[in-house]
């Protein structure tokens, strides 16, 4: 019963944290750098901590780029790059994203490379992204003299729906997100993430970020159970 209650509470934190921290909301984007610490647990890696460093580079009103790096005590290291052309519409903004994530799973001596192409649309209170991504997993110790090869999963659906409590250029915000991606991982389409994100501008240059995420497993087995959770906090400096 206790486990069920915990699971229900965590699942209730709707919304993965992918856009939580370094995303300052459209309309007010400035060059920024964010640093965050994470406590994380999952059934496979157990308790572990992560250090995230993120940079947002809005080159002009129509093109921006994000670069992210995560160092995990689980001996996993992830680099993410995101390119985002965007177009103002009479209502809201449309954007096209190209994401490349390179995850070095040193603990298992393998790498997981994912690349995505997405189309998104956001208004003051909601942001929706839909796209496809490709995954290639490679063994660092591959036997080149056998028929062993990398594993490619060419077509995966990517989705991200985020709902905000305040307009996205507000001084504070709270968001709920349902997605199969976050800043450092792309999960298969039937493996959704739920989470919550928040930020508050404490000064012109400084923003405090917080977020939490829950990853159940077996949802589409119709037999869901808790798999992992992450809580994070940090700050953003905007130039």
């Amino acid at each position: 019963m206790k486990r069920k209650l915990l699971f229900a509470l965590l699942a209730g934190w709707m919304g993965a944290v992918s856009l939580t921290a370094a995303n300052p909301g459209f309309g007010t984007r400035r060059y920024s750098i964010a640093v965050m610490g994470e406590y994380s647990y999952n059934n496979t890696w157990g308790h572990h901590g992560n250090l995230d460093v993120q940079a947002l580079l809005p080159f002009n009103p129509h093109f921006e780029m994000e670069a992210r790096q995560q160092f995990s005590t689980a001996n996993v290291y992830t680099t993410a790059l995101q390119f985002r052309p965007k177009f103002e519409l009479p209502v809201g903004e449309m954007f096209i994203e190209t994401d490349v994530y390179c995850r070095l799973v040193a603990r298992n001596r393998m790498s997981d490379l994912t690349a995505a192409l997405e189309v998104g649309y956001r208004m003051d209170y909601v942001s929706v992204t839909l796209g496809l991504f490709t995954r290639v997993m490679n063994d660092w110790d591959r036997d080149w003299h056998s028929n062993e090869s990398f594993v490619a999963e060419p077509f995966n659906l990517l989705y991200r729906v985020e709902v905000f409590c305040r307009p996205q250029d507000n001084r504070w915000n709270l968001s709920f997100l349902f997605s199969n991606v976050d800043d450092y991982q792309m999960e298969r389409m039937w493996q959704p993430l739920f989470g919550i994100g928040a930020y508050v501008d404490v000064a012109d240059h400084w923003r405090i970020n917080m977020g939490a995420q829950c990853k159940p497993t077996g949802m589409f087995h119709l037999d869901a159970t808790f798999y992992g959770a992450t809580a994070r906090a940090g700050f953003t400096y905007r130039f």
Binding site: A11, N43, M110, F155, L222, G228
Partner: protein, 292 residues
Amino acid sequence: MAVGLTACSDESTLDLAGMFSPQGETVNTRFEQSMAHNDSVGEIHLDMGADTYTIYACSDSHVTRKSHRNLDYFMAQYLAAPDPKLAIHFGDLIDAQKNYPCADSVLHLGGVAVNDEALSGSSPRLFITPGNHDIYFKQWPVYRSFFGTSAYWFDTRNGSRKLDLFICLDSAEGSLGTLQTKWLKDLLETKSKEGYRHIIVFTHTHLWKLDGSQGHTSNYAMEETYELTSLLGQYHVDFVWSGHQHARQSVFFKGVNYLVLDATKDKEQGQSYMTVEMGESLIYHYHNYPKE
């Protein structure tokens, strides 16, 4: 039999509450109950009386009151085959709530390790791993009453000579859970040094999503995919057999052959089962079910 079901009926196939919260025992609880069962039964060593033997394997039969023709055919083929032999079902034996009595052709064998008779030398034997359809709607107690355990190992022998090691894993909810993962690691650590000819793992949920053939079936979380493939490669597991996606698939990664079987479900496109000639090499044969 701890649970008596007198009539086969078709109930709901959509356990919506199960999408958001565990409705029955979770994998760690099932694992603990399985270990208690295993301890009471003891180790399973099958003397095949020869170095070569045949395995009949099928998956995803999804039997219902009106639909169990292919499973009955599979069992008839298996029972008619010459010894030595054994059969393995990779899960999703039933389709919906209250369908267990519809799988009579399997259940009358007694399943794995339910009693000594099922394990005696010449008895037909069927080993099974639970699929998500077998345990949702709080059906684990029913599954358990028929098959006793969801995580176990057994080996085949020729007299005193060890042949092959088989490990059954419970992945019915898309994760092995913490206890079973540790058990698997400890088991492989011990058994990989005992000189088995082949080490074979079978479970329901497949590890890869190579294409769109799997419909709305889910896999393991990525972290668990990394860890499992690494563990299986590290201890030189030869083969991982699974089902779940209802489409045949073959992957070779980190020295391990991953094979996913077609479904045995009636009226499914590409229904087939597999026979494997177990020897120094494994020779696979796929058999289509006869058309209705």
